[in-house]
């Protein structure tokens, strides 16, 4: 069995120029990505509601008045 620590990703060396070190083994395993297909899986893959909402910055201004000074 191949020792995982010696397995190099295919793009680590410039094998296109044929200068990969002799004896290099390439990771040829197939990696699967899980794509949600059911409604439940889609819900589970969504971020929490709070982070999906748009935050707007609003304000309420008012006049600061005075009735004078005697």
């Amino acid at each position: 069995m191949t020792n995982p620590s010696t397995v190099k990703p295919a793009d680590t060396f410039d094998e296109r120029r044929g200068n990969a070190p002799e004896g290099t083994e390439y990771d040829t395993r197939i990696h699967y990505i899980s794509i949600p297909t059911t409604e439940e899986e889609l819900d589970a893959s969504r971020p929490p509601i709070n982070s999906r909402q748009k935050i707007t910055q609003n304000s309420e201004a008012f006049d600061i008045r005075n009735s004078g000074f005697d």
Binding site: I49, Q53, K54, Q57, F62, I64, R65, S67, G68, F69
Partner: protein
Amino acid sequence: MVAVLSVRTDNGGTNGSPASNNDIDALGPPSMQMRTDDQAVVDSAAPVVIPAAGTNYSFVKSSYLYCDTAPSLQINNVEFYTDGSNTLGTGVGMVVGNEMPTRNSGSTAAYIVAAGTVGTTGNEMTTFYTGITGTTDVFTFTSGSGKSISISEAGSVINAIGETTNYIVFQLTVANTASPIAATPNETGTFQYDEI
């Protein structure tokens, strides 16, 4: 739904039980007049008397933001600020209490009735407003560097009609260097908040 908030003040009554809450938006444009009585009106009555020495004050305003129409989710990160430039005149300033006595949709227990001598001066807020131990010049708070306003509703957010911020207590200060005048130019105060 976009929330609708109003700036309000509590007036009169007794400590812990204001007689009325007043929507200052109704004093169009929204206006908070600093005066030497405890009335939520705008007129030429009740000016602050310039002292021979030291400082006189307006009566305090126990103000807060009130939710008239609820937001879709919530309101928080409330801040108060001004334009940073005091144009109230020589010897005239305005301060805000450092602490914000608790007010929410279920309680006004921390409310303290404005006190002073009607027509002359209010009492300085730290001498009678329980829970307020210091004040800060409002003009030190500017956009991007405002005073953070606390909320004592569930979750420390406003998300329903009738919910409010805590009390933000304002007071005008008039030193003996001020000059008699009918009224000086208005300033603008702004409450800013995040809404979801």
